[in-house]
């Protein structure tokens, strides 16, 4: 039953692998610089590593927005996000999985009555806007740098080709790692508080937590997506959509990967905090929009000719339409799930505390126990408490 409920998240993972791997290896495979099998293997391995090692940060931010506490609720939210992505793709509207997931979670908040954490929401939405802009800045700088440096190096065309192949593989691995780290939250983030997995003790020092188990599963789903369906997308992206030279593709993928990494790396965030610098929010961002931002950055440096500014408008409209549609779909699906299939899609915070204490045969007098302590005991996370308190206010 658990895996049935997880299937919607795994489907999101498959879809992510099928589509977003093309952002990393599209040009390399489309132009035959890198063989598909090599690209798929590297992308799969590094997506899983990225998800396992660095997936927690962005997932935690999604948890702040809404810690879905029933498995059926998580399933419905994921299926609502997936449905929205499919629907908008069919309607040829710009769509991002990250934005659909956030909209679906907000839908769950509205349906369950949990208050929306507007601070977390503002953080997430501002990141969506910053993501393509930052990618454009990185790409523009890297492009300028390569324009200055490459002619001075006097590298033979053929040797440059060999270096570019190696660079595309290395940056592709980094891109896959960043994609796994940043976007795993979209795939499995909504299940973290609801899935009844136990921590697995592999050795005295190595324990695989519930979240990590989910991230590995999600990573595997992404890998399956890469191997089963991304070849066509890579060829389309590499040959038709973005016809980039291999060196430009390297710059675009590197810029995209840096942006995704910045918004996923707890290490970088901790370093910034330790050096009294403003921390970067860890938020799942759109891989495709980072790529578009990077391409636009290069186009602007080249003089801004042939830029279709309508594309920018479409991206900006997606920041609003995607979450709104996903939110509406999510509320509708949650209603169906609760009232037609008779599945609990959420539990109130008070119920959770009571159930936990009741099961352990403790006499509970909530009124004399600090709510903070109780909620922390149950969730190990203050997100739900925060929601409950916001709701009270």
């Amino acid at each position: 039953m658990i895996f049935l409920f997880l299937s919607s998240g795994l489907f999101l993972g498959w879809s992510l692998g099928a589509n977003d791997a093309a952002n990393i290896f599209g040009t390399a495979v489309g132009t035959k610089m890198v063989r598909f099998k090599t690209a798929a293997l590297i992308a799969s391995v590094f997506v899983i590593i990225g998800a396992y090692l660095s997936g927690a940060g962005a997932a935690h931010t999604l948890g702040e927005l809404g810690a879905i506490n029933e498995l059926a609720g998580s399933f419905t939210v994921a299926i609502a996000a997936a449905f929205t992505v499919t629907l908008m793709t069919r309607l040829k509207l710009p769509v991002s999985t990250s934005q659909a997931v956030v909209g679906a979670i907000i839908g769950w908040n509205l349906f369950s009555g949990f208050a929306i954490d507007y601070a977390a929401l503002t953080k997430i939405v501002s990141t969506w806007i910053v993501c393509p802009i930052l990618a454009a800045i990185f790409a523009a700088l890297l492009y300028k740098l390569s324009k200055i440096l490459l002619p001075k190096l006097n590298i033979h065309l053929l040797r440059m080709d060999a270096y570019t192949r190696v660079a595309l593989i290395v940056v592709g691995a980094f891109g896959a790692y960043s994609l796994g780290a940043n976007n795993i939250a979209n795939v499995m983030g909504m299940f973290i508080h609801s899935v009844p997995f136990q921590d697995i003790q592999l050795s005295q020092v190595l324990t695989v937590s519930t979240a990590e188990q989910l991230f590995i599963l999600g990573g595997l789903a992404i890998s399956v997506g890469i191997f089963t369906y991304s070849r066509r997308v890579m060829n389309t992206v590499g040959k038709d959509l973005f016809r980039l030279s291999p060196i430009t593709a390297f710059i675009v993928v590197l810029s995209h990967s840096l942006v995704l990494y910045i918004f996923a790396s707890e290490g970088l965030r901790n370093w910034l905090v330790a050096n009294n610098l403003p921390p970067i929010p860890l938020v799942p961002v759109s891989s495709s929009q980072a790529v578009i931002g990077a391409i636009l950055g290069i186009a602007l440096v080249k003089g801004g000719k042939n830029i279709r500014f309508g594309v920018l408008g479409k991206i900006a409209s997606g920041w609003v339409t995607t979450p709104v549609i996903a939110g509406i779909v999510s509320v509708f699906f949650l209603f169906i799930m609760q009232n037609v299939f008779d599945q609990a899609v959420y539990r109130s915070a008070e119920n959770v505390v009571w159930e936990q204490k009741h099961n352990s045969n403790e006499i509970v007098d909530i009124s004399c126990v600090s709510k903070t302590i109780l909620y922390e005991e149950v969730y190990g996370d203050l997100a739900i408490l925060k929601n409950a308190e916001l709701k009270k206010k």
């Binding site: 035959k32 324009k147 065309l157 053929l158 040797r159 080709d161 060999a162 190696v166 030279s245 060196i247």
Partner: protein, 214 residues
């Protein structure tokens, strides 16, 4: 990966060898024509033999480079351009050989006072070839220099055109049989044609160099 770098190095040296053969042919053409004008038949035949050998080697190298580029799907973005450069440059060496071969077969009777004009025309034509070879080398390694070098190719091609016109005027002002005049004009055209072939490659190279910019 080491295999890729080894292969790359091998093709780089093959391209260098190919360009060297074309360059050697241009040098040999000048010497061969000088020998022909001095009635040094043995010297001329040696030079012709050398050019024929260079043409054969260049053909073999070009085929091998093309095979490797296709088989290993190297330089996907520039492969078509590189193959076009090699094929068109190969046409130049073919033209050089054909011209010398025609000298050897038809043995045109060139009046002594036209010797210098023919040598000057050959010099301008060969200069255009040599600058083209430099431009092709730059295309592979220092593409930002290509336009500067192509400028010289165009200059020598125009120079060859001018010299050819002057030479033809001289030929037709001479008191010779019309058949002889036409024969000499034909050889003027052949020597000049080598610089035209260089210009044709130069025109393409200018476009390919733009494509090479990131």
């Amino acid at each position: 990966m080491p295999i890729l770098f080894k292969l790359t190095k091998m093709i780089e040296s093959q391209i260098e060898a190919f360009l060297n053969e074309v360059s050697v042919s241009a040098l040999e053409f000048r010497k061969a024509l000088a020998c022909y004008l001095k009635d040094d038949n043995e010297g001329f035949m040696q030079r012709l033999q050398s050019v024929t050998e260079s043409e054969r080697k260049a053909d073999a190298l070009r085929l091998e480079i093309e095979k490797q580029l296709y088989m290993r799907t190297l330089i996907p973005e520039n492969r078509g351009d590189v193959l076009a450069i090699l094929e068109n440059t190969d046409d130049i060496i073919d033209t050089i050989k054909d011209t010398l071969m025609e000298f050897s077969v038809e043995c045109p009777q060139i009046p002594t006072d036209l010797d210098d004009s023919y040598l000057e025309l050959a010099e301008a034509s060969m200069q255009s070839v040599e600058w083209l070879i430099k431009a092709i080398r730059a295309f592979f390694k220092e593409f930002y220099l290509v336009n500067e070098l192509l400028h010289k190719v165009i200059y020598y091609e125009k120079e060859a055109d001018k010299l050819a016109v002057m030479l033809k005027r001289k030929i037709f002002q001479k008191d010779l049989d019309l058949s002889c005049k036409i024969h000499l004009r034909y050889f003027t055209f052949h020597v000049e044609r080598i610089s035209d072939a260089s210009e044709s490659v130069a025109d393409r190279l200018a476009i390919y160099a733009i494509k090479r910019e990131i």
